[in-house]
C-alpha cells in the first residue's frame, strides 16, 4: 500500500477486501457494518423525515403510550420519542466522530514521533501514555467535564483528552516494527526527508490496527457521552440526547416504561454495531488483539 493517490476504484477494492475473511464476507462484519451504516443513514437523513419536532412541548399529550402517531410514545413534556431518538442519533454519532478524530490526531502524532525518533523523546512520551492508561478514565473525564462546566463541547474535550493513549501505543508499536524493514531503510538511504518518511511511508502502514481500534473505541465513546449526559454533564435540556433522555424518564419508570427503555435501546444497538464491526475488522485485517478491557467507556 503506497498510501498516495489511491483512486476511487482501488479504495473500493481495499474496503471490500478488508471486510473479508478467507475470501468470504464475515457475519460479524456484515451485521456490524449493516448496523453502523443504517445508523449513519438515520443520522444524516432521519431528522429531516420525522414528522414531529424533537423539542416542541405538548403538555396535553405527555407520557402517551406507543401508538401509530407516536411509535415510541411521548416523554414527560409530550415530545415525540421517535423524533428525539433520531435526532439523538445525529448528535451521538457526530460527537463520537469528533472525539475519535481528536483522539486519532493526538495519538497518531505522539505514536509516530515516539516510535520514529526513539531515545529520550520516546521515553518521555511513553511515560505520558503510561500515566494516562494508569488513570481511571471515567473519573478523569467526569472531573474534567465537571470543572469545565456542563456542556456538550466540554464532555467532548474531556473524552478526547482521556482516550488518545491507546492509539499512541498501537502506532508506536507498528512504527517500531516497520522501521527496520527494507523498504523504510531504502527510502532513508535514498535521502527521503524525515517528515516524508513519517507521513508517506510509515503512516499508511499503521492504518489497519488504528482503524480496528477506532471502531472498537467508538462504542466506548458513545457509552461515555451517554453516561456523562446521564449524570447531568454534557447535553443540557431541551437537547435530544440518549443518556439525558434515560435520566429524564427515571421518575416515570413505573407508569411509562418507554421513556427510559427506548433511548437505552438505541445506545445499546449502536454500541453493538461498532463492537461487532470492530471485532470483524480485527479478524479480517488480521490485527493482533490489544488489551480488551479498555474498549468499555463508562
Amino acid at each position: 500500500m503506497s498510501g498516495q493517490g489511491a483512486d476511487g476504484e482501488t479504495l473500493l477494492t481495499a474496503i471490500r477486501d478488508g471486510l473479508r475473511v478467507n475470501g468470504r464476507l464475515s457475519t460479524t462484519n456484515l451485521v456490524g457494518g449493516g448496523i453502523v451504516l443504517a445508523l449513519v443513514l438515520i443520522a444524516i437523513v432521519g431528522p429531516e423525515l420525522t414528522p414531529h419536532s424533537p423539542i416542541d412541548q405538548n403538555l396535553e399529550n405527555r407520557l402517551a403510550a406507543p401508538s401509530s402517531t407516536h411509535p415510541f410514545g411521548t416523554d414527560p413534556h409530550g415530545r415525540d420519542i421517535l423524533a428525539r431518538v433520531v435526532h439523538g442519533a445525529r448528535l451521538s454519532l457526530g460527537l463520537a466522530a469528533i472525539v475519535t478524530g481528536i483522539r486519532l490526531v493526538i495519538g497518531l502524532s505522539v505514536g509516530l514521533v515516539a516510535g520514529y525518533l526513539g531515545g529520550l523523546v520516546d521515553a518521555a512520551l511513553m511515560r505520558l501514555v503510561d500515566v494516562q492508561l494508569a488513570f481511571p478514565g471515567i473519573v478523569l473525564a467526569l472531573v474534567i467535564a465537571g470543572m469545565l462546566g456542563p456542556s456538550l463541547t466540554n464532555i467532548m474535550i474531556a473524552l478526547a483528552v482521556v482516550g488518545w493513549a491507546s492509539y499512541a501505543r498501537v502506532v508506536r508499536g507498528s512504527v517500531l516494527s516497520l522501521k527496520e524493514r527494507p523498504f523504510v531503510e531504502a527510502s532513508k538511504l535514498a535521502g527521503t526527508p524525515r517528515h516524508r518518511i513519517l507521513l508517506r511511508v510509515l503512516l499508511p502502514n499503521t492504518i489497519a490496527p488504528v482503524v480496528v481500534l477506532a471502531t472498537l473505541n467508538s462504542g466506548g465513546v458513545i457509552l461515555g457521552i451517554a453516561g456523562l449526559s446521564f449524570i447531568g454533564l454534557g447535553a443540557q435540556p431541551p437537547t435530544a440526547e440518549w443518556g439525558r433522555m434515560v435520566s429524564n424518564g427515571q421518575a416515570y419508570i413505573q407508569s411509562a416504561w418507554w421513556v427510559v427503555t427506548i433511548p437505552g435501546l438505541a445506545i445499546m444497538v449502536t454500541v453493538i454495531g461498532f463492537n461487532l464491526l470492530g471485532d470483524g475488522l480485527r479478524d479480517s485485517l488480521a490485527v493482533e488483539e490489544e488489551q480488551h478491557s479498555s474498549s468499555r467507556g463508562l
Binding site: 503510561d130 473519573v139 472531573v143 470543572m147 469545565l148 435520566s247 461487532l276
Partner: protein
C-alpha cells in the same frame, strides 16, 4: 523475581503517582472563575459574596498563595492523610471519604465476585465448545454485556424485579436485598470482559503442543482441560481480575446514582456539581491512587507467578 524489576516498577509507580497528583491539582486551573467566589456563592444563596468575606475565605483556605505553593501544601497534607476541608460541608475531606468507602467497597466487591462466578466458567465453556451453538451463546452474552449502558441496565432490572415482580427494593440502602440489583448491574460489564478474556486465554492454551500431547496420549478431555490447560490459562486470568476490580470500582459511580446509594461515586458527583474543589481533588486523588496501586500489585504478582515475564524489559 529480580530485584531490579521491583525497583524499576516502584520508581515508575512513584512517577505515575506524582503526575497523577499534579494533574488532579492542576484541574483547578481549568475552572472558569474564582474558586473562592464560587464556594462562597453557595453560602450566600447565589448572591454575590462581599469582598471582605472572599478575602477572608482565600486566606483561610490558602487560596491567596501561588498555585505551586498550594500544591506543595496539599501534597504534604495528602501524604499524611490530610486532604483539606470540604467547601460545602465544613468537614475534613478524608473523613468524608472514609465514611463513604465501605458502601462502595461492598458494592464493588460483591459485583467483582459475581462477575467472576459468571465470567470465568462462561469463558471456559465457550472455549471448550468453540464453534458450537454453546460458544455462540457465550459470545453473544459478552457482546451484549459490553454494549449495554450500565445505568440503563440498572433501570431494566428495576422495572423487572422491583416494579413488575415486586421481589426487590427499587433503590436505597439498608438490607442485603438492597444490594442485589446494584451488584448485578455493576457486574454485567465486567462479567462480559472476563468471558471474552478467559475464552481467549483457554483457547490459546488448548492449542499449545503439550496439550496436544496430553490429548494424543488419550487422556480424558476434562482431565486435559482442568488439570493441564486451566493451570496455565489461570495466569492471565488472575492478572485481569486485578485490573477489573479497578474498573468495577470506577463503574460504581454511575450505579450508585441509578440506585441512589451513598458511596464514593455519589460523593464525587455531588462535589462536582457543587464545585467543591478540595472534595473533588481529594476523591479524584484517592480513586487514582487506588487504581494505580492495583495496577502495580497486578504487575508484580504477574512477575511472581509467571517466570516467563521478561523482567525490566520494555513494557509493550
Amino acid at each position: 523475581m529480580r530485584l531490579s524489576y521491583l525497583v524499576t516498577r516502584t520508581l515508575s509507580l512513584l512517577f505515575v503517582l506524582l503526575t497523577v497528583s499534579l494533574v488532579t491539582y492542576g484541574l483547578i486551573g481549568l475552572t472558569p472563575g474564582d474558586p473562592a467566589r464560587t464556594a462562597l456563592a453557595a453560602q450566600y444563596d447565589g448572591d454575590v459574596p462581599p469582598p471582605e468575606a472572599v478575602d477572608e475565605f482565600r486566606a483561610e483556605q490558602g487560596l491567596d498563595q501561588p498555585l505551586y505553593i498550594q500544591y506543595i501544601d496539599w501534597i504534604r497534607g495528602a501524604v499524611r492523610g490530610d486532604l483539606g476541608t470540604a467547601f460545602t460541608i465544613d468537614r475534613p475531606v478524608t473523613d468524608l471519604i472514609v465514611e463513604q468507602l465501605p458502601a462502595t467497597l461492598m458494592l464493588a466487591t460483591s459485583a467483582m465476585i459475581l462477575s467472576m462466578l459468571i465470567g470465568v466458567p462462561a469463558g471456559i465453556i465457550s472455549a471448550v465448545y468453540k464453534g458450537t451453538p454453546i460458544d455462540s451463546v457465550g459470545r453473544l452474552f459478552a457482546l451484549f454485556g459490553l454494549s449495554m449502558p450500565n445505568f440503563w441496565f440498572g433501570y431494566l432490572l428495576i422495572i423487572l424485579f422491583a416494579l413488575t415482580l415486586d421481589l426487590l427494593p427499587v433503590s436505597g440502602t439498608g438490607s442485603l436485598s438492597h444490594l442485589v440489583l446494584p451488584t448485578i448491574t455493576l457486574a454485567l460489564g465486567s462479567a462480559a470482559v472476563l468471558t471474552r478474556l478467559v475464552r481467549v486465554a483457554v483457547l490459546e492454551t488448548l492449542s499449545e503442543p503439550y496439550i496436544r500431547t496430553a490429548q494424543a496420549k488419550g487422556l480424558k478431555e476434562h482431565v486435559v482441560v482442568f488439570r493441564h490447560a486451566l493451570r496455565t490459562a489461570m495466569i492471565p486470568i488472575i492478572t485481569v481480575l486485578g485490573l477489573q476490580y479497578g474498573y468495577v470500582l470506577n463503574g460504581a459511580i454511575v450505579v450508585e446514582i441509578v440506585f441512589q446509594r451513598p458511596g464514593i461515586g455519589a460523593l464525587l458527583v455531588d462535589a462536582v456539581f457543587a464545585r467543591d474543589y478540595p472534595l473533588i481533588q481529594g476523591v479524584t486523588l484517592f480513586a487514582a491512587v487506588t487504581f494505580v496501586l492495583l495496577n502495580f500489585l497486578v504487575d508484580v504478582t504477574y512477575a511472581v507467578i509467571d517466570p516467563r515475564v521478561q523482567m525490566g524489559g520494555e513494557p509493550s
